[in-house]
Structures are given as C-alpha cells and as structure tokens.
Symmetry: C2
Subunit: 327 residues, 2 copies
C-alpha cells in the first residue's frame, strides 16, 4: 500500500436494524464523507430501496468530490453467506435471504463484498485500527450480545462451515444465567451490555443510595448502559460492581481465548467498549491472575479506537481487501 | 501420495519419561517394525545416548529389511521450539534445552523434525487416523493432563508465539478445583485421567458396595484409570459416576471448542480415550444439550483409532510432512 492515491476510495456500508450508514473511505482508512439514515427495518422492499438510494447518493457525492469509487463493502449484523453474498437473516430487520451483493453490484456495476459485522470490524482493526500489521488477533464485540472474529495469518478464520468465532456462546459458568441460545452461563450472559444492565439493577436493588435509582426513576427496566457508565464515572458503588462483574467474566473468557489461540492482540470493540476504561484494568488483572503466565503475558488487551466508525471502516476494509484479491 | 513406494520409510520416535519407542513407518502409515526401550530419564547424557543408539538400531534394521529411510520425526512431551529443533523441557525427564533435531540429524545425516506430542498426534490423525483428508479439526489428548492441537487448513495452528491450543487450561468452572497452573476449574482439573481418579475416590467413599474398594484394597491413592474403567465395565455405580463427571466437563469443553473453531471433527486421543466408549455417549449428549444446534450439529466427535501407536504414527507423519516441504 505504498502507492495510495487519495482520490480513489471505496464505499463502506454498515446496515443495521435502527440505522444504515455509508462512508467513502480512502486507502489509508480516512473517511472522506459519510451519511447515516434510519433503517426502514420492518419492510424488506423499503430496506433494499433505502440501501440503493444511499449507494446512489454516495456515488454522486463521490463524483462531485472527484473521488473515484473502486468498490463497495457491506457489513451486516446477522448470518451471512459471504461467498454467495447473501444476507440470510439479521436481528431486528425483517429481511431474509436477500442477495445483497448481487443487488448492489448489479445496480452499480462495481465489485461488491458482504460479510457480517464482527468479521468486518476485525478487518477494520487490521486496516486502520489497533491491529495494523498484526496477523494473529482476536476481535470481540461487546454490545447487547457478544460476537467476535478470529484472525489467523491476517485472514478471518471461518472454520469448516463458516460458523467459527461464536465467542459469545463460550460457556464460562456451567450453572450460570440462562442464555437465549438454550444453554446456560455463556459469556454473552455474563459479560455483555445486557449482563451489565441486569447486574446493575440487582446491585441497585440492594443499595438505597445508588444514583442509578434517580437516573432510571426507579424503573429497573429503564436502566441503560449509558446511565450505568455515567454512574460508575461518579463512583456509584452499584454501577462499579456491575462493571466489575462483567470484567471478571470477560477476563475469564479472554484467558480461554488466549490459551487456545495465542493471539498477539485481543481487541475489544462494540458499544460497551466505549466505557472500556471502566473495564480494562479489571479485565487485565483477571487475565494475569487466572491465566498461565507464559501463555498470557505476551498477549496485549486493548480497546478498539475506531468507536462508532468501526462498522464503516470495517466495511471499507472488506472492499479494499476484496478489490486487492481481484486485481 | 498416489505414488507411494513401500520400500521407503521414515523413522518415527516417541520420547517420554518412562519409555522411548521407535517405528519405521511407510508412506501409507504402515508400521514396518518397531521397538520400545525404557527411558533413562534421570540422566540427560544417558537419555541422548539411548536415543541415538535406538536410532542406530532403527537404521540398521531398516537396512537389513531393505527399507530406504528418508527422514526422522521426533515427538516429545513438554515444551518444544519446533523451528530450532530444541526440546526446552519435558515432564518427568531431567533434560532441558536439548538440541534434539541437530543431535539426531548430525548423527545420521538425515532430515530430522521435532514437535510436541500433541501436535505430532494430530498430524498422525491426519496422516493415518480419523482425519484423513480433513483440514479443520481439533485433537484432544486425555491423559494425566489434557493437551491438544488445532488444525487449520491442514496445518497445526501455533499462534503468535507458538503456544496455541492449551486446551487443558481452558477455564470451565471458575470456582472449580485448583489447577497446578495456579488457576481453578481448568478443563484438565475436571476431565483428565487425574480428575477421573479423584472423582472415583470421592464416589467410592460414599459407596460401601463399590467394587473399587476391593480393587484398590481400600487405598484410595492406589486407584488407577484401568481399575475405574474395569469397574465401570462391570456396572459399578461409583466408577460410572466418575466417568459421567468427566464426560460432563469434557462435553462443555467441546462445546466451547466447536463454537470457537467450527471444526469438522473433534478427535479424542490419549490414555483415557482407550476407555472412551464409556465417555462418548455422555459427551455427545452434553454437546447436543449445551451447544447451539446450528453450530454443533455439523461437528463429529470421535475417538482416536491409533491407540498406543498415536505417538509413533504421529512422529512419522511429522517426518513425512517435513520431507514433503523440503522436496
């Protein structure tokens, strides 16, 4: 990539249940411009139309800015058949079996690539984030659930049938809380944003003085990650205990990942990682305490620095990588 | 491998704390002849001499049988620097930092390769065992401890610093039994031969009628895996409960491995796998009950068929693979 022409770019598109965003991204990972629309997620036809309209806007905006668009990368939550370019299903969106790759490439004539959000975010870390030049790493996304990607020799490891890296369903506490997958004590039930909210509500119930009570106006169900994060910043014991709970289990999960995979870096991304400074020290000490020293001491644990742009930079990385393979 | 000449072979050598064995193995994985000696494990010089004497014997025996030896593969328990060909340390043997590869290749003039026992056994499964033609699989060795290897695209996955696949130190029960690694509830403390013996002693203590009491003559410390296996075959409840205990945790460990790695096959080898028929049904039902169906249903769980020859076939596979890379 020594010879990057900054008038060339790709369009990275991050589709989700509440919003869909697009960015024109150059070969260095710089966002030239971007736009976000709300997803008409209850209607498949409307979703497709909104997506293609957004692509059209991206192409005309690129042309106006004299940017040459070389390809399009699409990242989506849910289950994706990457090679076929089909979005099988996606949470909170009523589309299924949508041939997104063919639709977009047919509409634009541009090479188009599709992958799921976790794989795409991992590619973004390698392209312009914490893992530049790193071949073996694990990317974890902490949000409502927990997802992830495993990179081996610089490529996303997909396994035999393409379902690898279901990090959220690693069982950590065999008799732990029930998981929506049907099992119990999966990492997702212990260290996700959902677990943070559940535990904060529990600690708040035992703590009359918790500022969380005021924040959620006594409505436990109304507690959000933002509230808990804010309360923790203020030193609220219930909120701090909730962060410490998920950090404990996240640390145990990372011990397992490092023991199995010996990555150079573990990157933590996703919504919860924006409050990651409240987690990181605890996570690192659990890894130090519970890991085999010779195995864990060489693995760095860092927060993603891409923040809300992770999906866009990742989708763009997918496109740049795909174009590289074609040429 | 369409053009295998059966007068060509490699020497596979399996070194351990109690015995060292050698076999001449042809390109189809057939053992032409073999020999086992006891390891003079308390003296490094004697260990090296015994090894080189065994190699000399193997070469002259090959010559007598008109077999052409193309290379030598060495498998050893312990920590190995594969590229450098150095055995850093090995349990129950008083040698350390031994440049085994250079010693043997210098002595014989033959291309020589060294790797640890778990990686070597996994190569053996791919060469002549359950994983012929399989690119993505996990090999687990159940013995006194638990080790393993992860194969990705037909090669042993080593990770960033070469320490990957420490499957025995995956934490499954955070408050479980202490592990010699310093942590608690590692798979090795819950599903190894050592765990089987510990649990059988515990169940026997609560069961006056257990045949285990007679077998070990009341000496709990004298219980062996063979006794527990024999008692389980006779239907002894304490022995059966001990097998069921380790099967439960082994099943949880396999769920995690399958969710993370999406292997085509999981092969269970090592000493305990010789009683594997007492485990397999339970392990498979735990995986069915606790795994995400779409993720676990495509992964086969099988016992190694190589038995006591796993180390020899594996070391030979290492040699055949190494020669293939050289040519």
């Amino acid at each position: 990539m020594g010879d990057i022409e900054l008038n060339k770019c790709v369009l990275g598109i991050d589709t989700g249940g509440t919003k869909t965003s697009l960015a024109a991204v150059d070969g260095r990972g710089g966002i030239q411009f971007s736009k976000e629309i709300s997803s008409p997620s209850t209607d498949e036809q409307m979703m497709v139309k909104a997506l293609l309209d957004l692509v059209d806007w991206g192409l005309s905006e690129s042309s106006r800015k004299e940017l040459d668009v070389l390809g399009i990368g699409l990242g989506s939550a849910g289950f994706v058949l990457r090679d076929e370019g089909i979005l099988v299903e996606s949470p909170n969106v009523s589309w299924s079996m949508v041939p997104l790759k063919r639709l977009v490439s047919g509409h634009t004539g541009l090479p188009t690539f599709l992958d799921n959000d976790a794989n795409v975010a991992a590619l973004g870390e390698r392209f312009a984030g914490e893992c530049r030049g790193v071949d073996d790493f694990v990317y974890l996304t902490l949000g409502t659930g927990i997802g992830g990607a495993i990179c081996v020799d610089g490529e996303v490891y997909r396994g035999h049938r393409g379902t690898a890296a279901e990090i959220g369903h690693m069982i950590i506490e065999p008799d732990g809380p029930p998981c929506k997958c049907g099992s119990r004590g999966c990492l997702e039930t212990l260290a996700s944003g959902t677990a943070l909210e559940r535990e904060a509500a529990r600690f708040m119930a035992d703590d009359d003085a918790s500022v969380l009570r005021r924040m959620c106006k006594g409505d436990t169900g109304g507690l959000t990650g933002e509230m808990i994060s804010e309360a923790a910043e203020e030193g609220d014991p219930a909120a701090l205990k909730a962060f410490s709970y998920i950090a404990h289990y996240l640390g145990l999960g990372l011990v397992n990942l490092i023991h199995l995979l010996d990555p150079e870096i573990v990157v933590i991304g996703g919504g919860v990682s924006r409050s990651g400074h409240l987690l990181l020290d605890d996570v690192r000490s659990v890894v130090r305490e519970r890991g085999v020293p010779a195995l864990v001491e060489g693995a760095q644990i860092v927060l993603s620095a891409l923040g809300r742009d992770a999906g866009l930079i990742g989708s763009a990385a997918l496109a740049w990588e795909g174009i590289g393979r074609l040429s």
